[in-house]
Structure formats: structure tokens, C-alpha cells
């Protein structure tokens, strides 16, 4: 059982890729047919950009003064994190409708339903990041680095979003209903995103909290993205190791989360039951 012939492994792998792509297509077809979903997942980050830029922006002082530049990396990270939670809602819905039962009764790869959904959510995130960037440019956000560095920043965000998607997938499979997925999937994201350097400089917090914040994967990601966009002049790392090596730490966190929650979610999927 444990030793598989090489051709069997390769046919399994090609099935897994095929099945994942078939399901990715399924979700991409949904996008134009449920336009409300895309519209609202774009409206929310735009709303945050405007709220923070105009409402809180005046009250929050960052050295150098460019709060809107400081803010954008934070809003980007928050948005990709929240998109991860919607992965879970979608899965919980498939479960409630009995679709997961159908998929589980088919001779398809056990990882495909999850991979198809996280991949299509990743593509949706690309779309959302494009719209947000335009919105950011409109309120005065500017990058100050090479195209390569900027691309790197966006790739970091997408990788992190993909990791958050796998956490969302796992939550979507363990909750008893779509309604619970809707709250359980999002509620923990508020402390996660706010207890970070996304919206306010870390030095304004009590020192014990600074340590927690420094190790928050959101902080590393935000710090790395700020560096990549050239928006960091104003965000000191205050000697915290994870912030000084932000890009490596962000990638590390993402990989650990993808593998860890990938294993948990697929294991859960194997025994998932609709009712």
C-alpha cells in the first residue's frame, strides 16, 4: 500500500492537477454570474482605504508624515487575509448543499476541491489588488522602487493570501453551517490584522504588545511589502528580528501555514459529512 509504482504516482499527480483545474474553472465561471460577491469584496477594501485615509489618517502620526503611503501595505495585507476567510464560506456552502458528498463519491483527488477553491480565490485576489492599487494611487499612495521590487511585493501578498485561504478552508470544513462559517471565519481576523503594524506604527504600543505584534505574520508581510514598495522610511523595525528579516519571515510563515493547514484541511475533507 505504501509503495506505489512510479507510473501510478504520476497518474495520480496528473489527476490531482486535472481535478483541481476543473474545479478552479467551476469557481471562475461563478465570478461573472454572482457579480455581487466580487463587487462587495472590492467595495470593502476601498471603504477601508477611504476611512483610514480620511477619518483616522489625521489622528495617526507617522514619522515622515505620509500616512496614506504607510497605510496601503496594511490595507493590502488585511484584504488578502479577509479573502482567505471567504474560501471557508464557499466550502461550507458546498457542504450544506451536498456538493461535497458528490465530489467525495467521485474517483477524484482528495485535495482537488480545496485546491480548486483556494486557487480560484487567489485569482480573485489578483483582481481585487488591481482595483485597490488604482484606488490607492487616487488617494496619493506612490511606490518608490523598481518594477521588480513592486512585483515582488505583490507576490508576497498573494502568497500570504493563499496561506490565509487554506486556514479559511479548514475553518469552512469544521464549522457546522454556512452561517457559522460567516462569523467564525472572520472574527479572529480583526485582532490578527489590528494587532499588527498594518494601521498604526508599532512604537505607539506597550512594549509587551510590541513583541506579540512583531511576531504576527501580518506584521512581517506588511513590513516586507512596505520595503518592496519603498514606503518604509516611516516604519522602524525597532530591533525586532522578524521585522528586520520581514520578507524571509513572511514567506516562511506563508509556507508553514499552507503546509500545516493544507494537511489539516485535506484530512478533514476526507471524512467531511454534509449533515
Amino acid at each position: 500500500m505504501t509503495l506505489l509504482a512510479p507510473e501510478k504516482v504520476s497518474s495520480r499527480l496528473s489527476h490531482a492537477v486535472n481535478d483541481s483545474l476543473v474545479l478552479t474553472m467551476r469557481h471562475l465561471r461563478h465570478i461573472p454570474r454572482i457579480p455581487e460577491l466580487l463587487v462587495f469584496s472590492i467595495v470593502q477594501p476601498i471603504m477601508f482605504v477611504l476611512l483610514f485615509a480620511f477619518v483616522f489618517g489625521g489622528a495617526i502620526q507617522v514619522a515622515g508624515g505620509g500616512y496614506r503611503s504607510y497605510l496601503m501595505a496594511g490595507i493590502f495585507a488585511q484584504t488578502v487575509a479577509f479573502n482567505g476567510a471567504s474560501t471557508g464560506v464557499g466550502l461550507a456552502e458546498d457542504m450544506a448543499k451536498g456538493l461535497i458528498d458528490r465530489f467525495r463519491s467521485l474517483p477524484m483527488a482528495r485535495s482537488a476541491v480545496l485546491a480548486g477553491r483556494t486557487l480560484s480565490d487567489l485569482l480573485r485576489t489578483v483582481l481585487i489588488l488591481i482595483v485597490m492599487s488604482v484606488c490607492g494611487l487616487a488617494v496619493g499612495w506612490r511606490t518608490h522602487t523598481s518594477a521588480l521590487s513592486i512585483t515582488g511585493g505583490f507576490l508576497l501578498l498573494l502568497l500570504f493570501g493563499f496561506a490565509m485561504s487554506w486556514i479559511g478552508a479548514w475553518i469552512g470544513l469544521i464549522v457546522p453551517s454556512t452561517e457559522v462559517a460567516n462569523t467564525a471565519g472572520f472574527i479572529w481576523l480583526f485582532p490578527l490584522t489590528f494587532m499588527s503594524n498594518a494601521f498604526v506604527p508599532i512604537q505607539t504600543m506597550p512594549s509587551w504588545l510590541q513583541t506579540v505584534v512583531a511576531w504576527n505574520p501580518i506584521s512581517a508581510t506588511v513590513q516586507a511589502v512596505r520595503t518592496a514598495f519603498g514606503n518604509t522610511g516611516v516604519a522602524p523595525t525597532r530591533g525586532f528580528w522578524p521585522l528586520e528579516h520581514a520578507a524571509v519571515v513572511s514567506v516562511g510563515w506563508s509556507i508553514v501555514l499552507i503546509v500545516g493547514f493544507g494537511v489539516l484541511a485535506v484530512r478533514r475533507y476526507r471524512t467531511a459529512s454534509s449533515r
Partner: protein, 333 residues
């Protein structure tokens, strides 16, 4: 003729609730087994085990020659499942749903497209084929769901309450489709709460209660197990029920069951039509007014009542929600 489905001693517990309590069954190729029982009897759990969705605590099951636990993928390649809920993607068209399932059975792009077109034709969904399934009626969704389970032309088909919630016309249509499949050689295991449905579709019926098969056989065998014909008498209002009961006792040899409310008496009889004539004569002599008198074969409901002590429609308590099951699971672990 081979055996398409074989289950032996299946046990599945959710905490203190026993969903399957040593269920065994066998289905010959190209026949229909009707799993008949009330809600919570374990029918759906049995289907979930046989379709590899659920691991039993103990017991073995083989479908299309493969063990469901050791070779689940081989089993999945050979089965179709259509559940109680139409498991289709509402935002895909009927055609896209069927093509997607074909691709997931690894039929290839071209073949999946062909199969989708064939099935839309067969299930009278051609006109609706390119509309998203959200716009379909309940009957259409059920047909699409059944079509999806047939994409890979599986030799073994599991239908979990295929007509629950359908209007009478859609139900008749569904019955025709299922009968057609069996004629073409498909083995079907279907669960139902409807005695009429089992009677109509199933070659063999397994009566399930509390996670176990308590009787099985053809509809006729089950009926004869309950006994012979019954004399079914409805007495006119105003006529004394006691007198009628006394007359029936004399004919049947035992006291008949009396339903005061509907003024109905039932008693077993051995003789044929002659008994009916004798009954009319004796009742008339005793001055009992007759609203209705008939000799009838026992129904499957009678079978159920005599086997389980309750009617088939009575609900038994079982954990039906995911949360309840999970709580039950947790309490044992």
C-alpha cells in the same frame, strides 16, 4: 448472476446513538434493492458507508467487487450517487454541471461533452441545458442530479430517497427513469420511506429499523409473512360495533382489531371470496349496517407494523444535524 453489493455486520455509532447495528445486505446484479424504513432507521448511513463517504466502526462492505475501505477509488469509479438533496452547482448550467462531473470521472473533455449532451436529451433537459441550474424547478434539479450520477455509466447506482419532496407527476417520471436503468442492467440500491415506491420499483425489499435489516424478501414474500388476507369492514354510523366485532370473531376465529374512530374492523381470514359472501350474510342477519366490506392483501404498512410494532411513518429519534452527530462523536472520544 453475481452480487453487486454485499454488506456484512456494518456498525456505526454516534456516541450513544447506534446508526447501524450490524446491518447486512446483498444485492444481485441488475436488480433493485429497496431499503425501506422510517427516518433515522439508518438507511442514509448505510448508503454513506457503501458509497465510501463514511467509515463504519466495524463490518465489511463490497461494491462492484471491491472493498469500500481498502479500495475506495475502485468503488468510486463504478458507482453513481444521487442523494436526498440535489447536489448540483446552482451557478453552473445543467450542461456545465454534467461536463464537470465527466471531467472529474476523467472521461476526457470530448467524451464529457458528449455524455452531457446525451444525458440532457435523455432527461428532457435540452431546452434548459444552457440555463444556470438556479432557474430549475425542483423536479428538474432532481433529474439533473440523477443525470450527474449517471455520467460515467456506473454499473451500481445508489439513490437516497430519490423522490422525496417531488410532486406526484415528477415522481412517476422518476420511477420510469429508474425502471429503465434497471432494464439496461444497472444495479440499484434505493432508500425510501414510501411503501408504494418500494413495492413498485424494488425486486427485493429490506425493511430497516434501528440500524438493522429486520426482514427482507420480495414484496409478496413480506406480505405473506404477515399472514393471509384480511377482512376489512367499515360499519355504518349507528350500528353497534360490538355486534360487528362478535360476528367477525366468529368468522376469523380471533377477535378483530377495532378502530372506534373510523368504525373500522380488521380480521385475518383463511378462505377466499367465499368468506366474503359468508360475512355479508352473517352481518346482515345480525343487523349490522355495512359501509364498506373488502377482502384485501396485507400492505407493506401492515408488514411494517407487524415487524416493528409501529407504522412506517412514525419517526424515531436520531441525530440528524451535523452538530448533533459531532457532539455525539465528541462524547465518546
Amino acid at each position: 448472476m453475481g452480487v453487486a453489493i454485499r454488506a456484512e455486520g456494518l456498525v456505526k455509532r454516534y456516541g450513544s446513538v447506534v446508526a447501524l447495528d450490524g446491518m447486512s445486505l446483498q444485492v444481485e446484479e441488475a436488480t433493485v434493492l429497496g431499503l425501506l424504513g422510517p427516518n433515522g432507521a439508518g438507511k442514509t448511513t448505510a448508503v454513506r458507508v457503501l458509497t465510501t463517504l463514511l467509515d463504519p466502526d466495524s463490518g465489511t462492505a463490497e461494491v462492484a467487487g471491491f472493498d469500500v475501505r481498502r479500495h475506495p477509488d475502485e468503488v468510486r469509479r463504478r458507482i453513481g450517487l444521487s442523494g436526498q438533496y440535489a447536489a448540483i452547482d446552482e451557478y453552473l448550467t445543467g450542461r456545465e454541471n454534467l461536463q464537470m462531473v465527466g471531467r472529474l470521472y476523467h472521461l476526457g473533455k470530448a467524451h464529457s461533452r458528449e455524455r452531457a449532451a446525451e444525458l440532457l436529451e435523455r432527461f428532457d433537459l435540452v431546452d434548459a441545458g444552457d440555463r444556470i441550474a438556479k432557474t430549475y424547478s425542483g423536479g428538474m434539479r432532481r433529474r439533473l442530479d440523477l443525470a450527474a450520477s449517471l455520467v460515467a455509466s456506473p454499473p451500481v447506482l445508489f439513490l437516497d430517497e430519490p423522490t422525496t419532496g417531488l410532486d406526484p407527476r415528477s415522481r412517476l417520471g422518476m420511477w420510469d427513469v429508474i425502471s429503465g436503468l434497471v432494464r439496461d442492467g444497472t444495479t440499484v440500491l434505493l432508500t425510501t420511506q414510501y411503501l408504494e415506491e418500494a413495492d413498485r420499483l424494488a425486486d427485493t425489499i429490506a425493511v430497516v429499523d434501528h440500524g438493522r435489516v429486520i426482514a427482507s424478501g420480495t414484496a409478496d414474500e413480506l406480505k405473506s409473512q404477515v399472514g393471509g388476507d384480511r377482512l376489512d369492514l367499515v360499519v355504518t354510523a349507528g350500528s353497534p360495533l360490538e355486534t360487528a366485532a362478535a360476528v367477525l370473531s366468529a368468522i376469523c376465529g380471533v377477535a378483530p382489531t377495532v378502530d372506534q374512530h373510523s368504525r373500522r374492523l380488521l380480521g385475518p381470514v383463511a378462505g377466499g371470496a367465499g368468506t366474503l359472501i359468508e360475512a355479508i350474510r352473517l352481518l346482515d342477519e345480525a343487523g349490522v349496517g355495512i359501509d364498506d366490506l373488502a377482502l384485501r392483501r396485507p400492505s407493506l404498512d401492515d408488514v411494517f407494523l407487524s415487524l416493528t410494532g409501529h407504522h412506517s411513518e412514525d419517526e424515531t429519534v436520531a441525530p440528524t444535524s451535523r452538530r448533533q452527530r459531532r457532539q455525539a462523536e465528541r462524547s465518546t472520544s
